[in-house]
Symmetry: C2
Subunit: 624 residues, 2 copies
């Protein structure tokens, strides 16, 4: 029994219609912790080199973190991983809500799924048991209908679900996994992998609780957050993650019209304050979290009807369907969000697909004939919503085309369309501008999942003198301006990002204002390990390195650690005095980053000594 964990990992072979349980030793938990630590471990060990992401050899991995399901704020998150059909490399998506917690309380730290079911199935986990159940009757359903049907047939309205909608079923490469209707494991197209396996849903019902080493200390920490979150995270509660949109606009860091610009004239209309004062009807949170940063919105007028059952848009969604599509109508954005949650598609990538099509349309690369009659000008909210629907359902024409993701779509379109697919490694950019933040630019270039903000660096944490104690206690003492990439920036990036990976190892939400000290204290209280930031940092570094090795094995090279040309080009409007990173400077600092990570400075291949130092010498067998 490993405290803080269920101690059991479920293996599922859908081709053989069977399941079995692994009970790893405590050192396995301590080395890999959970979440994307487990994902990296199992992907590398189980997925054969060159496997088709949408074939039976790929693995679909649901993985909880150390925190997940324990009674502590931030413990609502879990991860889903697979070889990504969007990037062809290491894929992971993390998600809040309640499903992960329920899965742990049902007795499982992770589920490793291989094979393809003969016909649609769902998994039902309860009391340490796992059943594979038929799901033919659920195929084609929205997430809401799926949830209703499964809860009804199991006779238990407290069953929590991770599921796909039609997008995943139709192998839309930007499909996601939806938990509890309102929470999306968005990035990397993991929903398509779930669809390819004909796995409609995982239903979990647990009775827990998980045994923890020091319940009293855990309660003390939980109480601290209950008492302090208002002073530290009130804005997140009040105006949600979208509350900061207006600040990004003012700083010239708000992705606008497919990243052509960093400021949006309609920003005020779509920022969190406006949402609060207009369409917001409620606030929701994740398991055990007092902050409740999630939005619930309702629209019911002549133009749009949006059902609050699907929650409401976060900043990423408002950015991608809003400013990034030139749309300043929160109702349209909320509608696109509802469609994505109902059909199971990543709002970031879908919004980016729409904005890509809009730019192609405005530049004459796509015509009204190509768009099936849609007037795809930036700012046309109705067209944005309609194209979103078509992508989610892979409707013939532009919907089907964009459902392939930006790289394939742009290639099929030709005529220079590739220039407007703003992605790294096939993954469309999230709503964080990097022309004005050169550490983040490096982060996008080297991230194993491409343009991903979930394990990246925020340059704004490094431009103040004196630096915060959170920085200084990582050994980072030298401030660097946001638009500078130098050795100090690379160093800070390296340390911060190794720690960032840890959030997804632990299943901690990065918005919950735990300090690093407190995160360590939580791990100690849960597990009884006398751990510390050294051990945790090395675990994060281990995860980053395993993900890197997965990509190298699948054929990625240094050449893939690059940014799209737009990120080296000033904004169209020039309204902000930005200074994008010079590609040569970026390339030079790639070598430095590789070196700091103990990877070969030319190729970025981890050195054998580094694998030994990280206690993952077994991974050497997977080096290219």
């Amino acid at each position: 029994m490993v405290k803080g964990y269920a101690g059991r990992i479920l293996h599922v072979d859908l081709s053989a219609n069977k399941t079995w349980v692994e009970e790893p030793p405590e050192t396995f938990y301590r080395r890999y912790l959970g979440g994307n630590g487990f994902i990296a471990y199992y992907l590398l060990n189980e997925v054969p080199k060159g496997a088709d992401p949408l074939g039976p050899e790929n693995r679909l991995i649901f993985a909880n973190g150390t925190f997940t399901g324990n009674p502590i704020a931030g413990a609502g998150r879990s991860m889903v991983g697979a070889k990504s059909p969007l990037t062809g490399g290491y894929g992971e998506a993390d998600v809040g809500g309640f499903f992960g917690a329920e899965m742990k309380l049902a007795g499982f730290d992770a589920i490793v799924v291989k094979g393809v079911a003969e016909s649609p199935v769902y998994l039902y986990l309860h009391d340490g048991e796992a059943e594979i159940r038929p799901a033919d009757h659920l195929w084609g359903m929205t997430t809401l209908d799926t949830q209703n049907a499964i809860q009804s047939e199991l006779g238990d309205s407290r069953v929590r679900l991770a599921m796909i909608g039609p997008a995943g079923e139709k192998l839309v490469r930007t499909a996601c996994v939806i938990n509890d209707l309102r929470h999306a494991a968005g990035r990397c197209g993991i929903g398509a992998v779930m669809g390819s396996k004909k796995l409609k849903a995982v239903a979990a019902r647990g009775r827990g609780p998980v045994e923890v080493a020091n319940p009293e200390k855990l309660r003390e920490l939980a109480r601290w957050m209950v008492e302090h979150w208002k002073e530290k995270a009130w804005n997140l509660h009040d105006t949600g993650t979208d509350g900061g949109l207006i600040d990004l606009h003012e700083a010239g860091q708000l992705p606008t019209r497919n990243f052509q610009d960093g400021q949006f004239e309609g920003a005020q209309k779509i920022t969190g304050t406006t949402m609060r004062d207009t369409i917001l009807t409620g606030r929701e949170g994740c398991y055990a979290c007092p902050i409740r940063c999630k939005r619930v919105v309702k629209v019911d007028d002549a133009d749009y009807k949006v059902d609050p059952i699907y929650g409401g848009p976060e900043y990423e969604t408002v950015g991608s369907f809003g400013s990034n599509c030139g749309v300043d109508d929160l109702r349209a954005i909320a509608k696109a969000h509802e469609l994505c949650n109902a059909y199971g598609a990543d709002t970031i990538s879908t919004g980016m697909a729409v904005s890509f099509a809009m730019e192609c349309y405005e530049k004459g690369i796509l015509t009204k004939e190509d768009t099936g009659g849609l007037d795809l000008r930036f700012g046309n909210g109705e067209a944005m919503v309609e194209l979103t629907r078509r992508i989610c359902l892979r409707e013939p024409g532009l919907g089907d085309l964009l459902a392939e993701g930006p790289v394939i779509a742009a290639k099929k379109i030709g005529k220079g369309a590739e220039a407007y697919a703003i992605h790294v490694k096939g993954q469309p950019f999230p709503m964080h501008e990097c022309r004005t933040r050169h550490g983040q630019a490096l982060g996008y270039a080297v991230s194993p999942t491409g343009a991903d903000h979930m394990h990246n660096f925020w340059d704004g944490s490094l431009d103040k003198e004196p630096l915060s104690e959170e920085m200084r206690s990582l050994g980072i003492y030298t401030p660097v301006p946001q638009t500078v990439l130098n050795a100090d920036k690379v160093r800070a990036y390296t340390f911060v990002v190794n720690w960032q990976w840890l959030h997804n190892h632990l299943g901690n939400c990065m918005f919950v204002p735990w300090t690093r000290d407190q995160m360590v204290d939580i791990v100690r209280a849960l597990t009884g390990w006398e751990t510390n930031q050294w051990e945790m940092m090395k675990a994060g570094e281990r995860g980053v390195t395993l993900a890197r090795i997965f990509n190298l094995r699948e054929g990625f090279t240094r050449k893939d650690d690059v940014l799209p040309w737009r990120m080296n080009t000033p904004f169209v409007s020039g309204s902000v005095n930005e200074k994008p990173v010079d590609p040569e400077v970026l390339d030079e600092h790639l070598s430095l980053f590789y070196g700091m990570m103990g990877w070969d400075e030319t190729t970025g291949v981890p050195k054998l000594a580094t694998l030994h130092e990280l206690d993952i010498a077994w991974a050497a067998a997977h080096l290219p």
Copy 2:
């Protein structure tokens, strides 16, 4: 003002007869912490490449750690450093007692001395002031006479002294710096550097206390040690560091007759219990430490008279003059110890010089003519004491010869004598056998100060299943037997030793049973930094790397990271089933160690990316 520190570093130019004070910024303290962190920094920055260790260009650095002088157990230690006249490379020696604390309370974290005085001087530090005072009248005196004279002329019996005796004055390459008569900064021959500068002593008188960030937390920690030291370190108090001699004998790890054997038939007669029950008259401790592991012995019989004013022998001294010389007479050992403290010579290196001469004598390489009539057979306690005296005073003949250290002496003797000089990089072995502990073998090979136990690894901490939490929380999960050198051992060595260096950065005594967590807590309470084991580990790694660079700049290469042949050869008696490390295996694992440290795996030269990662890019200018 940097809390926990004096905030001031004294610079002294003895050639110019002047002093000045540097007040470094807080980031300097946070990067280098103190002790050998400061020593590495100043040696590399101030000593010109190729400087004569005994010339004016060398620097003599007295450096306190973070803990030193604060009211916490373990805070009695301080460091002295210089380019070593014994190894020609990075030199440091650490020492307990009271002088370091007094120096900090007098207002100085470190003293960096350059130049050579025209005639002997001493430094007097008090109330933040520094005076250079004449010491012609002190030249030639024992340490006791020196202390009496200075305390008397300053009219203050509470003045604490770091000083040299005749050995340092006469440039004996194994001379040490003696603090408070009873505490020796033994290794690396730093006393000769002090002698070469004609600096007889540093006298300090402080009024402190140092301002600390969290006095209450510090008191809580101090109280904890007062309440718990008996259960954790009673043996150290009761029988001193020599208490474990008998265990080493039983495990076949007691250096015997110049390391020919690992067991000594007279072990019982010289172990700490016997000392306690015979010549012990008291127990002493260092500043703020309740454990009092230091011995006070008195001998007053027909054969030997030993004055308790000089304290008594620690394990290292009992081993080097005892079993290692085949001597089982504690009285003779105590006498040799007294001579070394009075004349200022390292008991380890001096004992090793005697045992070297004894083996040469027994093997016919040295004759009675060479020894000036001494019958230098192993076991002859009287001859051992007499030769010790001659070395300390550099008396013509064998004394003068051995005062040059093992490398020069053996070369001068010729006739194959070099085989019996048991050293690494010119530094004689301390009393820790490495044939039975292969991690320690690696440690001796790669230590910047040669065969040094003060920042090494104890294989016995890694051969138990399950490993201790202190190990596991360093991320070390795999046990390895003592006589195995594999990648797991190298990894453990790397992490443990980076932490070990920290003791000498912080000025903490490694015998005081603080956990790593508590050490971090102490730093936090002293400085107010919200630091952690990550930041501390990186500081240790920084220190190791700077010391490495110093040696590389002075011409050391991979070829110097080797053990003497004897360490690859079984014991003469074969009484223990030992299995020395294979030189090829050691060499192979050197590469792995270099790689884990971010050094070139072939040459052991730190990579530029590693220097950036450690925030010491400035040191690149010193790479070979």
